[in-house]
């Protein structure tokens, strides 16, 4: 089971999912109307480290974060 958190302006409660990699997460979130429009502009972190590949395996207890466009300052 992994936990998926939606940061900043994405108004959505965290999800708990049985998935093995980010490809599977992509498939789940594309079907989710609350989130699908954000996917194009979101960065992804696994256990608080940004990732650039969908292939890295996920393990039980991992935390995945979706980070929408930022504007500090």
């Amino acid at each position: 089971m992994v936990r998926v958190e939606f940061l900043g302006p994405i108004q959505k409660e965290p999800l708990e999912l049985e998935i093995n990699n980010l490809n599977e997460l992509s498939a789940v979130l594309k079907e989710d109307k609350e989130v699908s429009e954000w996917l194009e502009s979101c960065a992804v972190a696994v256990n608080d480290a940004l990732v650039t590949s969908l292939e890295a395996p996920l393990k039980d207890g991992d935390k995945i974060s979706l980070l929408p466009p930022v504007c500090g300052g």
């Binding site: 502009s41 930022v70 504007c71 300052g73």
Partner: protein, 145 residues
């Protein structure tokens, strides 16, 4: 050093504290950047969300870059609401020489805008509206699309 505060920053106090902390460190240059909320588009102020775990690791990577040039960096940012003419952001570089500090503050603030996990909202007529048009997608975004 990274400091986060609820609400507006106390700019004079922070600049003074940072100056005093490094007063005997033999840095020749202290270059602060202060970001202040200005009146535009009828806003009453701005509001901020911060994701601290990734902000901390992002900041640590810049501290390391600063150290490699004999410099240090300090930053303060607000959480929550900051009203017009108050300040939400201070970044400062201390370095032995002026040129390093001037160039470093420029690249640091540019990357801060593009990469730091902070989300900005306009406060307008009692509502908190995500500043979508002024926001930047973090490098590598769209992985799940």
């Amino acid at each position: 050093m990274l400091q986060l505060y609820d609400g507006a920053l106390d700019v004079p106090t922070l600049l003074k504290e940072w100056h005093e902390e490094e007063a005997s460190s033999n840095y020749g240059a202290y270059i602060p950047f202060v970001g202040t909320v200005r009146s535009e588009d009828g806003i009453d102020g701005l509001s901020f969300d911060i994701y601290e775990p990734i902000l901390n690791s992002w900041f640590a990577s810049w501290q390391k870059k600063a150290e490699e040039q004999g410099a240090i960096i300090k930053m303060a940012h607000s959480r929550g609401d900051v009203m017009l003419h108050e300040s939400s952001y201070i970044a400062a570089v201390f370095s032995p020489k002026r040129r390093v500090a001037l160039e470093f503050i420029d690249s640091f603030v540019e990357d801060f805008k593009a990469s730091a996990p902070i989300w900005k909202y306009d406060l307008k007529e009692g509502k908190r509206v995500y500043a979508k048009e002024r926001s930047t997608a973090i490098k590598g975004s769209g992985l799940l699309a």
